[in-house]
Symmetry: C2
């Protein structure tokens, strides 16, 4: 292949880094791949860093030394984040989302990559400094949210199952009382899914009384896990419904939902 021009090489370097977010890419690998000296790649990276000032959508982190390299950290700036949450709250406040039984229909948004991506970046931005080592959720609706958060942080995800599943091997199982249904249920996590003493970020889609969240925390205690953060997409207001857990970040609040009048009002929370 013929020799690349500098601008072309910078774009190609950017593409390689963004294709592997959060992964350390050695400078030698970039140098070999694009047929340039390491010092040339270093200069390119300085210019690439400079370009990122203009977008506010991520940054490069350089690790020096023999085992060093560079990684792309995806980010969302607070202006974009707040604007996105205002728009999402607005879409969720639509009367045709009110379901029988007083539930809010939100799976169309919860499973849409275009909605999930910014949510993952928001959670990642809020919890990155707590240095979680794994993102944990419980099946089913919180899984996509947990996955995009894990991806934005460059971490693996773990899914707590309802009941006990044969495909997980030896598992720890606990009973818990779901705060809203008041029914006793069980949840389990495979022994080999989580090493003892890990720093965990909990992610879930919705919190009412927090019975499920409390159950997850109790289950994680059995693994000696340290829950360093807990993020939920939406909660009911704390004043009208006391929570069984403290210290969590919710992005949206369900202020009002009246299935008889067909009224729903979701508001964004102040996040940054």
């Amino acid at each position: 292949m013929d020799k690349m021009k500098r601008a072309e090489r910078m774009v190609a370097v950017m593409q390689v880094l963004m294709s592997k977010p959060n992964m350390l890419v050695p400078l030698t690998l970039l140098a070999e791949r694009f047929g340039a000296a390491k010092s040339t790649i270093s200069e390119d990276l300085l210019a690439v860093k400079e370009s990122m000032r203009y977008t506010g959508q991520g940054r490069l982190e350089t690790v020096s030394g023999a085992a060093g390299g560079v990684r792309y950290i995806p980010e969302i700036n607070s202006e974009d984040a707040n604007e996105f949450l205002v728009g999402l709250a607005d879409r969720l406040s639509s009367p045709d989302r009110v379901l029988a039984g007083g539930f809010l229909y939100m799976t169309d948004l919860l499973y849409d990559p275009a909605i999930l991506r910014p949510l993952g970046l928001i959670f990642a931005g809020a919890f990155r400094e707590k240095k979680p080592e794994v993102v944990v959720t419980i099946e089913t609706k919180g899984i996509p949210l947990a996955l995009v958060t894990a991806e934005a942080l460059g971490l693996p995800m773990i899914i707590i199952r309802h009941g006990n599943k044969v495909t997980e091997g030896t598992a720890v199982s606990i009973n818990y009382v779901s705060g809203s249904s008041r029914r006793i249920q069980s949840m389990s996590l495979g022994r080999r899914a989580l090493e003892p003493g890990r720093k965990v970020l909990l992610i879930d889609d919705f919190m009412k009384a927090g019975g499920t969240a409390l159950g997850m925390m109790n289950l994680l205690k059995e693994f000696g896990a340290d829950v360093v953060g807990f993020g939920v997409l939406m909660e009911t207001p704390r004043e009208s419904e006391p929570k069984l857990v403290d210290h969590y970040l919710s992005l949206l609040q369900l202020r009002e939902l009246d299935p008889y009048k067909g009224v729903v009002r979701v508001i964004p929370q102040e996040i940054m």
Copy 2:
């Protein structure tokens, strides 16, 4: 902000496009954002396209006309894809993955964004030309795989639930016989989750006899859906276990799993 140099602008354009994969970004938006003429941005995009020749990791698609713009299509080249599957098959062929009952432990890999990303790109590459409009899976283990495939294709995802869930509204529910357990189970999909007559790509993690797959297809018929593709990560060999469905793409094959001897052998399939 001071005026950008050409190389910086090209990198910033690349970053914006890669942050919104599969989304059409109008040239006017890029021109405004980076304070350049539309013709300048057009020239930049030609050079960016040129850069991508060097990576083989995606391409730019230009849509001309008043409603036109440019979108980034993430891709994986066949060499990287095959190399990745060989490595994955090797990791899965480890005796300590054999669980009691003859199951293979694979959730650690199935929930890891670094493993999922290439898998999503492989499925997307295999099915893009079928022009699916939505990616459908069934809870739980296939969800991350379906999500990354949907993201790589720029499509929404839909999750079929076991039983019937109150948070999905009015739902269509069917009974099916899981091929491996021979038990009658039910699965359901909310009426509003899928508009009639849509082109669907089915994604699942594992196929044994295909009873669950057949159930999903029957359920989707109730929505007038056209299943244009079906991808599974792993299957048991067709010769030893006849399948209830035809025409699917599997990436890996579980050739052998002996829980008594602790032997497991997974092989990659020829995909491109």
